[in-house]
């Protein structure tokens, strides 16, 4: 008797969950829909949901007028560059921490994580001035380096946990099979670590893409990323909802897709393993 009520309960759960889910998702959905409307219809009262004149004009306007492609490219370059750089530096570090741990390994790891908690405001001026002095203000290079530094603790952390999950006896078997350290890394460790490395890359691309504090404060016309580009809509002229929607949709679409694949990585990377 207690168990046979299942289907009915399931239906109730489904209805409630979908309602809440759609409510939460609504702003995103609305943005995407509005991007296909004309400006006039975008502000229509009552709001038009599906029955309006679908158009792609906003997308082309945004692209032409504000040099959208440049900002897009900057976002890609900065997110990709900082992630790649971070991986190159983090892999050896995580490797040595996972496989040749010393007594100090744990402390070093914790210290690295704590650098992530540094409020950016606290070092705003030195970084700002540093960039000016080095001629790096409004440069992609500065952003790549800084974003790499702020995400490095997470990259190291995630790689460390993935490396630790590789069963020790497979590595021992390779040693017994005559593999030198180098061969062990190349033929056994790396192939087994690839899913972990991919997950780490994924999460970091997302974090770097969405980063807003440094991108807003250190860049202007040349190196601005999509974050800054969107921010330029905060003081607009005339009707702009539809264009804002188009620009926004283009800015968030890639990340929403990537984000769907990276839920597990999110938990692992951002709770530092304290939740499993």
């Amino acid at each position: 008797m207690a168990r046979s009520v299942k289907n009915h309960q399931k239906m109730v759960n489904t209805v409630i969950a979908w309602t809440i889910g759609l409510l939460i998702f609504f702003p995103v959905l609305w943005t995407v829909l509005t991007s296909f409307k004309t400006e006039g219809q975008a502000i229509n009262d009552p709001p038009l949901f599906l029955f309006f004149d679908w158009t792609l004009e906003n997308y082309s306007i945004v692209q032409e007028r504000s040099d959208y492609m440049k900002f897009l490219w900057n976002s890609i370059f900065v997110a990709g560059g900082s992630t790649l750089l971070g991986i190159l530096i983090a892999v050896p570090a995580a490797w040595s921490m996972a496989f040749v741990p010393t007594k100090r390994t744990k402390d070093i790891l914790l210290w690295m994580l704590s650098t992530k908690m540094l409020p950016a405001v606290g070092v705003l001026y030195p970084i700002y001035i540093g960039c000016i002095k080095l001629g790096l203000l409004d440069s992609r290079l500065a952003l790549v380096i800084i974003l790499m530094l702020i995400n490095l603790p997470i990259i190291v952390w995630m790689l460390y946990t993935y490396f630790r999950e590789i069963p020790r006896d497979i590595l021992e078997a390779s040693r017994m099979d005559g593999a030198s350290l180098w061969k062990e890394i190349v033929y056994v460790l790396t192939p087994m670590a690839i899913p972990g490395i991919a997950s780490t890359i994924l999460l970091n691309l997302i974090l770097a893409w969405n980063e807003s504090f440094w991108t807003l404060n250190l860049t202007a016309a040349k190196a601005g990323t999509l974050t800054a580009f969107i921010a330029s809509y905060s003081s607009p002229e005339g009707l702009f909802f539809a264009k804002l929607s188009a620009a926004s949709t283009m800015a968030i679409a890639p990340i929403l897709i990537l984000g769907w694949f990276s839920q597990k990585q999110l938990v692992r990377g951002l709770t530092f393993g304290a939740v499993k």
Binding site: K10, N13, I16, A17, I20, L22, I24, F25, P27, V28, T31, I43, D45, P47, I89, A90, P92, A93, W95, S96, M97, K106, I108, L110, S114, M117, L118, P119, V121, G122, V123, L124, Y125, P126, I129, L149, L152, V156, R164, W209, N210, S212, L216, N217, T227, I230, A231, S234, F240, S248, I252, I255, G259, W260, L266, L270, T271, G273, A274, K276
Partner: protein, 279 residues
């Protein structure tokens, strides 16, 4: 092999920190006279006695506090809901997770214009539908608006973490409790909630650290007006807008100390879980 990472992070931490510390003890106004010499703790005193200080602390506490409360409470409820059997659970998860991946600037602007605009926003349409005067969200309920926007962004994070934690709960414990006669409410209170307490603590600590430094949402919506100036935003203004470096640096030091206090608690928990993994 660890060297490059360690060296870089150390440099990243020390160099800017010491610079900030250095400037905090000077009176430095690049736009109005440049380096005007050492002033000891003057900046520190001035920062906390300035008329904007306590309001900014108040604002920060309110915003962080409410966002924490909303995200944790609703996060737990949502996590419980998502753990139930239903159809299309995968898709609901995606719907709920989405806001976290939206760029802060996008979310700020979308909410400000497309939802909260008193003339053309959806909420305005909704209010009018019910015959009510639309609210001027950002000017009248500025803190509330910011809280709404930030909660929307962070609810997925809390939900995801708590859902992971719930799913790690051994089902058999719940079944045993059921056989022992506990109804769903009691099972929640005695078994699920204690199991979640650790995850909730982590969510609170991590979110606090990130929430203390929220920036973009305020930047694109109110620019600190209408009483939405958080401590972070105040420091930002001192440094980049009014260019009073000494004062801003002192403020920065306060922010660092505050964040570190929270960080210590968090690191202790992470440290313990690392030890647990060793064994």
């Amino acid at each position: 092999m660890m060297a490059p990472a360690v060296i870089l992070l150390m440099g990243w931490m020390l160099a800017p920190l010491t610079t900030t510390l250095y400037f905090s003890f000077k009176k430095y106004l690049p736009l109005r006279g440049g380096d005007l010499g050492w002033v000891g703790f003057d900046n520190y005193v001035r920062f906390v006695t300035s008329s904007s200080f306590w309001p900014s602390v108040y604002t920060t506490l309110i915003i962080v506090g409410f966002v924490l409360a909303i995200t944790v409470i609703f996060g737990v409820l949502l996590a419980l809901l998502l753990d139930q059997p239903m159809w299309g659970q995968g898709i609901v998860r995606i719907l709920v997770i989405a806001p976290f991946f939206v760029m802060p600037t996008v979310s700020g602007l979308v909410w400000k214009n497309m939802f909260m605009d008193p003339i053309n926003g959806i909420l305005a349409h909704l209010w009018r539908f019910f015959g009510l005067q639309p609210l001027e969200w950002l000017s009248q309920f500025s803190m509330g608006s910011i809280i709404l926007i930030v909660s929307w962004q962070w609810l997925p994070f809390a939900t995801l973490i708590l859902l992971t934690a719930i799913q790690s709960l051994d089902r058999e414990q719940l079944e045993a409790a059921e056989m022992d006669g506990a109804n769903p409410t009691k099972r929640f209170g005695y078994i699920i909630l204690p199991h979640l307490s650790r995850a909730i603590t982590i969510v609170i600590l991590i979110q606090t650290i990130f929430l203390l430094s929220i920036f973009a949402e305020i930047f694109v919506t109110t620019a600190g007006a209408f009483g939405t100036k958080t401590l972070t935003y105040l420091i930002f203004q001192r440094v980049l807008e009014s260019q009073n470096i000494g004062l801003g640096s002192a403020g920065g030091v306060y922010a660092i100390i505050l964040a570190n206090i929270v960080a210590i608690f968090l690191m202790r928990i992470v440290g313990k879980s690392l030890d647990a993994k060793e064994s």
